[in-house]
């Protein structure tokens, strides 16, 4: 709880900045510092990557690659929000990956089954209402365009502020707000449409 105290948090950020600026000498001590500051955000990194890639294996690859990249750029980290800093790298790695994936999609074999988002199974929906709701919601989130999905995940699952999201996505806060708003609108439409479908 001490870390939530603004005074304590301020001191921590200061000391982070101090140490990082003097950490270029020794790779081992740099790694120790990196593990201390950046590794605790592994779940946030994985959650974002998992929602953006929509795939468990790809998410793991992306996270690992993102961590290696983040470590390479660690000298550029000047203290401050370690989570936002890491997620920015994760996000960029994800989008690089998604672009590559899209290219493969058009140049290699077009395997529709493999590349469409996992379809919801009507039988399960009817069998278990909770599971059905879950599947509907998950599908609808996964069907959101990437730029809407990422702000929704960061805001409602990661509970990040508009300012933090703006930092990660490299967007003005106003754009974050409007994308979030459109994401929620689309999600609402998708969910009620699916529920009406399955209700009939």
């Amino acid at each position: 709880m001490a870390a939530n105290d603004p005074a304590v948090a301020g001191r921590m950020i200061e000391s982070d900045a101090f140490v990082v600026n003097h950490s270029e000498i020794n790779p081992e001590s740099r790694l120790r510092l990196f593990e201390e500051i950046v590794l605790p955000h592994l779940n946030a990194a994985y959650n974002l990557a998992r929602w953006l890639t929509r795939n468990e294996h790809d998410a793991q690859d992306v996270v690992q690659e993102a961590y290696l990249r983040a470590f390479r750029f660690f000298d550029g980290y000047q203290g401050g929000d370690g989570k936002a800093w890491l997620l920015e790298v994760v996000r960029n790695t994800c989008f690089t990956w998604l672009r590559r994936e899209k290219r493969n999609l058009t140049t290699v074999v077009f395997d529709e089954a493999a590349h469409t988002p996992p379809a919801h199974l009507p039988d399960q929906e009817e069998a278990l209402v909770d599971a059905a709701n879950r599947t509907v919601l998950q599908n609808c989130i996964e069907r959101l365009p990437d730029e809407f999905r990422e702000v929704l995940i960061m805001r409602d699952l990661e509970e990040m502020s508009y300012r933090q999201i703006a930092e990660v996505a490299g967007l003005p806060a106003g754009t974050v707000m409007s994308r979030l708003s459109r994401a929620r609108k689309r999600l609402g439409e998708c969910v009620s449409g699916r529920n009406m479908e399955s209700g009939k």
Binding site: P27, R30, Y46
Partner: protein, 249 residues
């Protein structure tokens, strides 16, 4: 306040400052449509939080990330070790270079450094003569009074000239102790400005001539067959050079 979807969402996301938050709260209490919209948003958000999966990193992922980082560090360290002999060589080479450069600079510039030191002393002396009471030991515009006054006080006889006709009247002289010896200071006026002309026999080899400007003062240094001269004043350098030319004529 008008109905605003954006404000309702920002309110729900706790992104509003207290004033705006209170205004939205008041509006929600009085506007059924917005209140309903707000409930829908809250419901959706709650269902995302409770139903949508938060994917936590599988345990093996943490392990493999750690291992990948260690491998990266190990290869970085190995690269550093491989480079070590070259690094030491480079460091040794740059130290040698620095030594030889400073050695050559010292050999090439001893006179300049000395000049610098003399210039500093001349300037201090000039300023001291202006702020103190000791500008003149022998107040006289008559060079036939000033020149004999130095006799017996110095081991040399300075050339005393007057340039009153050219706008540099002699007003007197004094003795100063500079560069480890007694030197003659001849004092001239240029309009309301004072020129101190310091002179003493040159030591061999003759030092470089030159001009210096510091803190609004100009110093001009020259030598002739046997004597060293330093003129100090706050008049423009061009006038100081004019003064020198008159003196050396």
């Amino acid at each position: 306040m008008n109905c605003s979807r954006d404000l309702i969402e920002a309110y729900m996301d706790e992104e509003l400052d207290p004033g705006l938050r209170a205004a939205v709260e008041e509006h929600l209490a009085n506007c059924p449509a917005c209140s309903e919209e707000h409930s829908r948003f809250r419901e959706q958000k709650a269902s995302i939080r409770s139903i949508a999966p938060y994917y936590t990193a599988p345990a093996p992922l943490q392990q493999s990330v750690r291992e990948a980082l260690r491998r990266a560090v190990a290869s970085e360290s190995a690269a550093m070790r491989r480079n070590t002999p070259w690094r030491w060589l480079a460091i040794a080479a740059s130290i040698l270079l620095a030594i030889s450069v400073s050695w050559n600079v010292r050999r090439a510039q001893p006179r300049t450094a000395e000049n610098d030191l003399v210039a500093q002393n001349i300037l201090s002396d000039h300023i001291r003569s202006l702020i103190g009471t000791h500008l003149l030991d022998v107040p006289s515009s008559d060079r036939h009074t000033v020149k004999p006054w130095f006799n017996g006080k110095l081991d040399f006889s300075p050339q005393v000239k007057d340039f009153a006709a050219q706008g540099f009247p002699l007003i007197g002289g004094r003795i100063e102790y500079l560069t480890d010896r007694n030197v003659a200071a001849l004092v001239y006026h240029r309009r309301q400005h004072v020129i101190n002309l310091f002179t003493w026999p040159s030591s061999a080899p003759p030092v470089n001539e030159g001009s210096f400007s510091r803190n609004g003062y100009n110093l001009l240094h020259w030598t002739d067959a046997s004597m060293t001269y330093w003129a100090a004043s706050d008049i423009p350098m061009a006038e100081l050079q004019q003064f020198r030319d008159l003196y050396e004529k």
